[in-house]
Amino acid sequence: MGLDITWAVDWVRRSADVIAEHRVELIKLDREIGDGDHGENMDRGFQAVLPKLDDLPAGSTPGDVLKLVATTLISTVGGAAGPLYGTAYLKGAVAAGSATSLDGSAIAAVLTAARDGIVLRGKAESGDKTMVDAWTPAAEAADAAASNGSDVAAVLGAAADAAATGSDATIPLVARKGRASYLGERSAGHRDPGAQSSALLLRAAAEAASAAAGA
């Protein structure tokens, strides 16, 4: 069973919830090695998406939802995260195309395209202590799971697990990109806020998929 528009909309709603819930935590992480606005920025962005979901025309696809998220984040988030997440969702939307339902390998392709978009815009490599450190293992895990023939919920579950591990792995790193890089060695010992928000968003995707499977 593939993931359709209902899943996509549910993912966005769950994303808005989880970001609102973790707003203060993300602010705190960003205050430690950045400028303390990541939770605020992401919350502003996802709250702006919510009302627009109601205006999606009938017959919209998961790709349309991803595109809506992309344009809304681009025009409301600002900072580094706005364009980076915006590009991620935009490239994901392109990968999703006009399909009404996404199977495991389509989902893996969406995540890989999203990751590539972030790298294209931000030029960060793995280990630079950015959101890439959550997205790269997530895309790879999704790809591996899909190749093994796992169902979509399992594919997204694997991605979410890998993103969480990736977020944890940013803690000891010295930042080489983004605002945290200005701290040099002092950035080590802190979790990257963008990696953490990425892990939260991918967990929301997996939960929405489980809910869809259960329904």
Partner: protein, 339 residues
């Protein structure tokens, strides 16, 4: 949360700080600027000036008077304020770019932060799609940050104010887009800065300081977003603090002696002038000791981090043309002379 007051500031609702402040700015300076609220930007009252290169800058709010305070005759054509310490999104940058395009192209002056660079890039792409020629100059004058091809690079700090003045004067006298961009690049290449904080600042929505310092601690090498610096030292006499900032600045360019410079001693928003002038005295002494001549100077809170106490020192190596452009008339809320 809603209307709740989280922090001791003269604000209503943390979410409305930028809107309400920019609105007040527009009311107070209606002779110089016009304010658009949706999307939000501040533009010269007579924009677009036909045939003149338009100059747009912007970035997170909380650095006032940067950038809106520099909109007006002889400096910026528009400023785009983001949320506090958050670069604006492409929409208002694009709107401002269109509003100032007088047919001679538009220069974007961008401080080197990932967010600013990416959002201005997107806006420039969109503007090009609407047949506006846009060039961007990225300012990166902060010597506190170790530069490398593999990092985000140096931040744009105090030098930004000087770039905006000199590029603004060049555009005002009728230079072409390429010439204005060349001036901006030249200023950026010849300017270096470094800052320190005595106290942190509090972002309205965050409600807590970005870092904490003991009564006798100082943060060296800070940026302008309340981010911590490279190093924490014990409180020291003003002269020692000045030395810790100006020596790396002078070594970096490097200044060889015999140059003429503009010395800019900047407060971080909460620093009283009495302290900035005291620091200026020492900085002038150091320059004299290095056989560098101070031809022009600027002292005050010109590029800030909310209510942070602290200072930055910026030194610009001047040539004749830069001096002429610095002296050219300017009429903005925060810098004004000659008209």
């Amino acid at each position: 949360m809603g209307k709740g007051i989280l922090v001791k500031k003269i604000i209503n609702d943390p979410k409305r700080v930028v809107d309400e402040s920019v609105a007040g700015f527009g009311l107070a300076h209606a002779d110089i600027v016009r304010v658009e609220m949706d999307p939000i930007y501040v533009v010269r009252v007579d924009a677009p000036v036909s045939g003149k290169v338009g100059i747009v800058s912007g970035g997170g709010s909380g650095h006032e008077p940067l950038h809106a305070g520099y909109v007006g005759f002889g400096m910026l054509d528009a400023a785009v304020p983001g949320a506090v310490f958050t670069s604006p999104t492409p929409d208002p940058i694009l709107a401002a770019t269109k509003a100032v395009d007088g047919g001679a192209g538009v220069l974007h002056i961008v401080k080197n932060y990932t967010g600013d660079v990416l959002n201005f890039e997107t806006a420039a792409d969109l503007a090009s799609a609407e047949d506006i020629t846009v060039r961007a100059v990225v300012i990166n004058d902060d010597v506190a940050v170790k530069d490398s091809l593999y990092t985000a690079g140096r931040r744009g700090v105090g030098g930004t104010v000087l770039v905006e003045k000199l590029a603004g004067a060049a555009a005002q006298r009728g230079d072409s887009l390429d010439d204005v961009a060349e001036i901006a690049e030249r200023v950026n290449a010849n300017v270096r800065s470094m800052g320190l904080a005595l106290t942190p600042c509090i972002v309205p929505h965050a409600g807590e300081p970005s870092f904490t310092l003991a009564e006798d601690e100082i943060e060296i090498g800070i940026g302008i977003h309340g981010e911590p610096g490279r190093e924490r030292i014990k409180l020291a006499p003003a002269d020692d603090l000045v030395d810790r900032l100006i020596d790396p600045v002078l070594d970096d360019l490097p200044f060889a002696g015999g140059e003429r410079v503009l010395l800019f001693v900047n407060g971080m928003g909460g620093t009283p002038l009495i302290e900035l002038y005291l620091a200026y005295r020492r900085a002038a002494e150091v320059l004299q000791g290095r056989n560098v001549t101070i031809s022009r100077s600027l002292v005050g809170n010109y590029i800030t981090s909310l209510e942070m106490q602290g200072m930055s020192i910026t030194v610009l190596r001047l040539d004749d043309e830069m001096i002429e452009l610095w002296d050219a008339p300017v009429q903005t809320a925060a810098l004004r002379w000659g008209r």
